[in-house]
């Protein structure tokens, strides 16, 4: 593969000025997104298949993907990770009131009960 195709991009992502003041007041979370965060071309060096696809057996009798055309990258389910698409939790809004924030809420709501008893008239 020619080196030119492996060249890193050197574009800077534009940042807007929106909310810079506000952001400056908070300790910013370290920028975890590197500049080179475009969607990368799937490359032979990165993509190694576990099991070869039969139709890609090379004429030399080898079944190693490294010898295949870099532009026809195909893989099967063994090289995918179905887990990631399934790890979404919609069962989270339980009635857990044990966290710190909930405890704080409870304290304040109990305080708010007393003056309120006098305020509401029937």
């Amino acid at each position: 593969m020619s080196t030119i195709q492996n060249a890193q991009t050197d574009e800077k992502k534009e940042q807007t000025q929106a909310g810079t003041d506000a952001a400056a007041q908070q300790a910013p979370v370290a920028n975890v997104l590197e500049e080179d965060d475009e969607f990368e071309e799937f490359k032979v060096e990165v993509v190694r298949t576990k099991k070869p696809l039969d139709k890609h057996k090379t004429k030399y009798g080898l079944t190693n993907y490294l010898l295949l055309k870099p532009y026809n990258l195909d893989w099967n389910q063994d090289d995918e990770d179905k887990d990631d698409a399934a790890l979404w939790d919609d069962n989270w809004d339980d009635d857990d009131l044990e966290d710190d924030f909930s405890k704080q809420l409870r304290v304040e709501l109990e305080k708010a009960s007393q003056p309120e008893a006098m305020a509401i008239s029937n």
Binding site: I4, Q5, E41, Y71, A85, K111, A119
Partner: protein, 410 residues
């Protein structure tokens, strides 16, 4: 052997490749710094001490002309003369395209290679140009040429599908996405998607998985940008599910867009998922925690802390929509703490907002928020304004979020 003889041999090799129609060989030789090309140039240099033989103007066939231009481009590239290299590469590209019209599927792999080289040279040329003046427009010019390459694939009239250049369409589209996104030409991306949809191509699922995943990622993020979140979700979920397990960076990129959509629908990323992708966790982890607890202040704080990163990826607005869930959760917590009372005074909710970092909130504002929550379906009940309280439905006053509308509303 003299340099000129070496060159003649090289041209002959190109000619042979055109005849044997070997897709791999041509694609391996045609990159600007291919092993073969470097060798030829080295050999010529060894003989002549220069590359002048490449510049000789002769009457040549189009294919030979294309090959010579390729070597000229490569020689200029070797000498870091990127503007010159680009010019030769563009001429070579156009010559190739003219031949390409009469070639079939086997040649698309070579097209991919020279397209990428053209783009890379254009960028380097622009960088060099911008040091001289403001005429750095090679990338735009290259994009137009590559667009023609894309069309040459998509509009192939070859009746035998197995030989059709159409099989190169999605790969070329993916190259173009990269280019268009460099200058944020989202409208061009969308026109291209429409053009593909309108053309008669084999269905996407018949193309190599790398083409499918990349295309779906781009189509999904573009839909995301237009706030078409349900459509975006389909593409992004597919991309996530089928992305090769080793392409870690790509998986992260997909998740950066997919997470806010799932959150809007009430589906939180599992801690196992966040553990695997620390970058995703550092941005969305604290937001997820705040949603679950109803802690509005922490949510807002985290949103501010990562605002610039979200904005740069076009994710800020979508993540802001998640804020409604935090409010819903806050109200729900108040409801629970009040013993699931079906009548809850506004002042209780007001006290809740005070704990959540908004002590200044007026009753009228609280009422307004409640009205909005009821309108959006997050809360079931009505407001008894004169009595200063919310009357909540006896059954499911706070429906589970994931059972609500599919299209998250702002």
């Amino acid at each position: 052997m003299a340099g000129s003889t070496r060159l003649v041999k090289a041209l002959y090799k190109f000619k042979m490749l055109k005849t044997t129609k070997n897709p791999e060989e041509l694609a391996q030789i045609v990159p600007i710094a291919s092993v073969y090309t470097v060798k030829v140039l080295d050999d010529i240099w060894k003989e002549d001490g220069n590359w002048d033989v490449l510049l000789e103007e002769k009457k040549r066939s189009l294919w030979d002309e294309m090959a010579i231009l390729h070597f000229r481009a490569s020689a200029a590239y070797r000498q870091s003369q990127f503007i010159t290299a680009y010019r030769h590469q563009l001429d070579m590209y156009n010559a190739f395209l003219r031949e390409f019209q009469n070639m079939s599927r086997w040649a698309v792999y070579a097209l991919f290679a020279i397209s990428k080289d053209l783009y890379d040279l254009a960028r380097r040329a622009d960088t060099q140009q911008s040091m001289v003046d403001s005429q750095a427009n090679k990338v735009e010019e290259a994009t137009r040429a590559i667009n023609q390459g894309f069309s040459a694939c998509m509009t192939d009239r070859e009746p035998l599908l197995s030989k059709s250049r159409k099989w190169g369409t999605y790969h070329m589209a993916n190259i173009l996405f990269g280019l268009y996104l460099q200058f944020k030409a989202y409208n061009l991306c969308n026109s291209m998607i429409r053009a593909i949809k309108a053309s008669e191509l084999p269905s996407l699922d018949r193309f190599p998985m790398s083409d499918q995943v990349t295309f779906r990622f781009h189509r999904g993020t573009l839909a995301f940008r237009s706030e078409k979140y349900s459509i975006a979700k389909e593409d992004l979920l597919f991309a996530l599910e089928h992305c090769h397990r080793d392409a870690y960076k790509n998986k992260t990129r997909i998740l950066m867009h997919l997470t806010p959509i799932m959150m809007m629908e009430g589906k939180m990323p599992h801690s196992r998922l966040l553990r695997r992708y620390p970058r995703v966790r550092s941005i969305y982890g604290p937001l997820v925690k705040a949603v679950k607890s109803g802690d509005l202040q922490t949510f807002d704080k985290q949103l501010r802390a990562v605002e610039q990163q979200l904005v740069s990826l076009g994710l800020y607005m979508a993540t802001e929509y998640v804020r409604k869930l935090v409010i819903r959760q806050l109200l729900y917590k108040v409801f629970l703490i009040e013993g699931r009372a079906s009548r809850v005074p506004f002042s209780k909710f007001q006290a809740g907002f005070a704990v959540a970092g908004f002590p200044q909130m007026e009753i009228a504002e609280v009422e307004c928020i409640l009205a909005d929550m009821i309108f959006s379906g997050y809360v079931k009940g009505y407001l008894a304004h004169d009595h200063g309280l919310a009357v909540l439905s006896k059954q499911m006053p706070f429906p589970r979020i994931s059972t609500l509308h599919n299209n998250p509303s702002p």
